[in-house]
């Protein structure tokens, strides 16, 4: 176990913990956008900046920095607060239409940005380039259907050549994990349309009720995990009804 202090308060955390996890364990709030406990640290949004004053003085992104014995962490000293505030102010200037960013900034007392507004072609920008979608698709799903394209301000996320992706399994994890709702996905009939990725996948039909409930490309999971064959056979609702029926029949034959 590692002992450290966060804003003067002692905390003990397991070895291998990040400073951010220690800060949260101490009950101190820190905003994050690119951090997710299920994915490897990324260190891109720079919202979780804190100052460590021991064993050496440094301004660090807490999400990617490992704790050390005797470490002293300060989240509210001006150096750390300024770094966070400027990051929020710049993200607000990038995505003035994002409710999430506006609320996050307002929480730190920032309601306007001195750094201008996005150009007209990006006026409705919601993507903060946190990379969660790219990473969940690669690290958790294993599909790697999307990645970053371009450098600097031209950087954005997309499929190769911005056309229908063969690698996308339509799972929707990208849209689910996106903190700002930048990824547009909808189900229409037997189609799932991932508008942002120019990609459409077929949905599997429930043989009982005819409803569409899972993207067809995910059928590869049946080979990987034979035990889910049953999950594939019926939609969740029909499975529930079947289970209820079985329970009633069971009760009828052997009452309590």
């Amino acid at each position: 176990m590692i002992n450290l202090t966060v804003n003067g308060q002692p905390v003990t955390v397991p070895d291998g913990t990040t400073v951010l996890q220690a800060v949260r364990a101490a009950g101190v709030e820190l905003p994050t956008l690119c951090y997710h406990e299920g994915l490897a640290p990324y260190g891109a949004c720079r919202l979780c900046m804190v100052v460590i004053t021991a064993p050496r003085h440094a301004l660090v992104a807490s999400c990617a920095y490992p704790v050390e014995e005797g470490m002293v962490v300060e989240t509210n000293v001006p150096e750390a607060a300024t770094a966070r505030h400027l990051a929020l102010e710049f993200l607000l200037s990038r995505c003035p239409q994002s409710d999430v960013i506006r609320e996050m900034a307002a929480k730190e007392g920032i309601t306007t940005s001195r750094f201008g507004a996005p150009p007209p072609e990006r006026a409705d920008e919601l993507c903060v380039l946190c990379g969660l979608c790219v990473r969940v698709c690669r690290e958790a799903i294993g599909a790697a259907a999307i990645s970053f394209i371009g450098r600097g301000m031209e950087r954005r996320v997309g499929t190769p050549f911005d056309v229908q992706s063969d690698a996308c399994i339509g799972c929707g994890a990208c849209a689910e994990i996106c903190p700002t709702g930048a990824i547009k996905m909808e189900d229409q009939g037997n189609k799932r349309i991932l508008h942002t990725w120019h990609t459409t996948v077929e949905l599997h039909t429930c043989p009982q009720c005819g409803r569409f409930f899972v993207p067809e490309p995910m059928s590869f999971l049946k080979e990987m995990f034979p035990e889910i064959e049953d999950l594939w056979a019926l939609c969740p609702e029909c499975r529930q009804q079947r289970a209820a029926r079985q329970w009633i029949e069971q009760r009828a034959t052997s009452p309590v």
Binding site: P41, Y42, G43, A44, C45, R46, L47, M49, L59, A61, A64, Y65, P66, E79, T82, A83, L86, A87, F90, L91, S93, R94, R114, F115, G116, V128, L129, G131, S147, F148, G150, R151, G152, M153, E154, R155
Partner: protein
């Protein structure tokens, strides 16, 4: 043949000496990229064809770069029994005349720059003659000390034999046959060598950490992703002396326990890629790479990876990601590559120049190297000295030399006698230091304290005609375009700083902009993820620190003191000086100049784009820049 022992090296050495110092006429043409750019290929062809036409027995060699860019194409003539003479600014026509003279047994005086002294195998009894200075006595070379560039321009870079003849591969033989990996590390540690890629981390310590780190296999990578505008040190070494890098990389591999090395070289350096590919193949053929080198049981191979043109890939974690086939973008450190690098394994990454130094340290000893330079800043560094300076070129000096020695001594002062105002060191992420700081000794720490960096070794000299705001904007434009865009400060911050600077040079800046600029610059410097963002604001912060008056002139008086910023200047023809030659009228791309022949011309300020073409072409200096 295969090299198994030191005596096999002797065989190679004898072969190398026979072509380095042949008993017949030998001409070497500097044909690294810099020489080719000034027309060395045409010179080479002219020499070859004319010699053939005259039946002159000639050994013609394409060599690398001697570093004196100003004087390219350089031709080195070695006639047995005579002084070895270096000719400068050679042309194809003069090359043909040279052959004619040589055919008559004469060494012409025209274009002769210096006599090249032959250090290792001098044909006895030669006196420098003809009033020519020795090459190492020219002001440009006098203060230089060539360790990294020891062979550049002096050997045929395609012949390992010549590299061996000048002492090459003795160090590898010594390391593999006489030293343990730990002893090898101790030697480098004791030399005080620090990373020549710019950050200056002690090389021996990096090796030690990687050597001690758990995990197998380990890797060693040569970083040749040099991308700074105006810098070409690594390119020159790879083009002119590729075996020095390969030998250094092999020694590094042995020291840390790696069997696989990589040379990451940017694809925009086609000649460097070609030379290094050829050299690796030749080293494999000779058994200097491959299984059990020198029958020592140590196996080592090298793979060449070509970079796809992203500046950020010079950053070590981005470079690793690029080799792995991923996106060229950095990741947070720690963990550092020495413990978790390529494929998550312990990895050493060293710059081209660092690795080229290693064999010399092994051969000459740690103490010998540590005695060069200053305490904590041992050895030599290579700078590409460019910009508004009389002598431009690739310069290798001991650390501790002052900026003044560099600029006024080696560089010969400002171009056309103009006063030098500032120097920018360390590439696009370096800072601009004013002339009053020129007595600073060059070291990693002094440059950092003054607000610049050693960087990979760019050195751009600026004079009174350089606008410091415009310079800051130029460099920021580069880092903005090369930012990978991963972290918020570097992506959004460089974009916004560039926006402010653009406002200022367009005369739309306000005094408040300067404070905002400084605030954002400090944030980008401290909060960015990698070295690119952390150093990108240096040109802005250093010019704000030393040249704030120029910024104020732009935002308060709407005036550009250097007369560079287009929106803030006017071009006017002085009627009493104008001869009406019409040259400016012909050259003006905007058609803004009118006037009758032999009568004073005028510029229409509405049409004029302030491109300064007229200013540059006017033979009598009649164009005035109104600031």
């Amino acid at each position: 043949m295969k090299v198994h022992s030191r005596s096999d090296l002797e065989t190679l050495r004898a072969d190398g000496l026979s072509t380095l110092y042949p008993s017949r006429l030998k001409i070497s043409v500097g044909m690294a990229t810099c020489g080719l750019a000034t027309g060395a290929a045409a010179v080479y062809d002219a020499l070859r064809d004319e010699a053939a036409a005259r039946g002159l027995d000639l050994m013609l060699i394409a060599t690398g770069c001697l570093g004196y860019c100003q004087q390219e194409p350089l031709v080195d003539v070695r006639m047995p029994g005579r002084d070895r003479v270096l000719y400068a600014r050679m042309t194809a026509d003069r090359a043909r005349e040279l052959i004619a003279d040589l055919a008559r047994g004469e060494l012409p005086a025209e274009g002769a720059l210096a006599v090249i002294p032959e250090e290792k195998e001098p044909p006895a009894g030669l006196e420098p003659a003809g009033g020519l200075p020795l090459l190492n006595e020219l002001p440009f070379y006098a203060r230089q000390r060539k360790i990294i560039l020891r062979n550049c321009g002096l050997i045929d870079p395609t012949r390992v034999e010549e590299y061996v003849a000048r002492g090459g591969y003795q160090a590898l033989a010594h390391v593999l046959l006489d030293l343990t990996p730990q002893e090898t590390i101790d030697e480098v540690l004791g030399s005080g060598l620090r990373g020549r890629g710019g950050a200056g981390f002690p090389t021996g310590r990096k090796w030690q950490i990687c050597h001690d780190a758990p995990g197998q296999p380990k890797y060693v990578i040569c970083n040749g992703d040099e991308g700074d505008p105006g810098a070409y040190m690594d390119r020159t070494v790879l083009e002119s002396d590729p075996y020095s890098v390969i030998e250094g990389l092999t020694i590094a591999g042995y020291a840390i326990g790696a069997r696989q090395g990589y040379i990451y070289v940017r694809d925009e350096y086609p000649l460097a890629v070609e030379r290094v590919t050829q050299a690796v193949a030749r080293a494999e053929e000779l058994g200097l790479l491959g299984d059990s080198i020198f029958d020592s049981g140590f196996d080592f191979s090298i793979t060449i990876v070509r970079g796809a043109g992203a500046f950020v890939c010079g950053e070590e974690t981005a470079l690793i990601s690029s080799i792995e086939g991923g996106l060229g973008e950095p990741r947070p450190r720690p963990p550092f590559p020495a413990t978790s690098g390529l494929w998550g394994k312990p990895t050493v990454i060293n710059n081209v120049k660092t690795l080229a130094t290693v064999p010399v340290i092994i051969s000459e000893g740690a103490d010998w190297y540590a005695a060069i330079g200053t305490e904590n800043n041992a050895g030599t560094v290579v700078f590409s000295l460019v910009g508004k300076v009389a002598n431009t070129g690739l310069v290798e000096v001991p650390l501790g030399l002052t900026l003044r020695d560099m600029i006024e001594g080696i560089g010969g002062g400002g171009l056309n006698g103009k006063a030098v105002k500032a120097v920018q060191t360390g590439g696009p992420s370096g800072g601009c230091l004013p002339a009053r700081l020129f007595d600073l000794p060059i070291s990693y720490e002094t440059l950092t304290q003054a607000g610049s960096i050693m960087g990979s070794g760019g050195m751009v000299v600026m004079d009174e005609d350089t606008c410091m705001v415009d310079v800051a904007r130029y460099f920021l434009g580069f880092t903005m375009a090369e930012s990978c865009g991963k972290c918020t400060p570097c992506r959004e911050g460089t974009r916004y700083m560039h926006e402010i600077l653009t406002r200022i040079v367009e005369g739309k800046g306000t005094p408040e902009d300067l404070d905002l600029l400084e605030e954002v610059a400090r944030w980008v410097k401290t909060a960015s993820l990698c070295g690119l963002g952390q150093t990108a604001p240096n040109p802005v912060l250093s010019t704000l620190r030393y040249f704030r008056d120029e910024y104020e002139a732009h935002v308060v008086e709407k005036r550009c003191p250097a007369g560079v910023c287009r929106a803030l200047i006017r071009l006017v023809i002085q009627p009493d000086l104008c001869t009406g030659c019409g040259l400016c009228k012909r050259e003006c791309p905007a058609g803004a100049i009118s006037g009758e022949k032999k009568k004073p011309h005028v510029i229409d300020p509405e049409l004029c784009t302030r491109c300064r073409m007229c200013y540059d072409v006017c033979p009598v200096g009649a164009i005035e820049i109104v600031k």
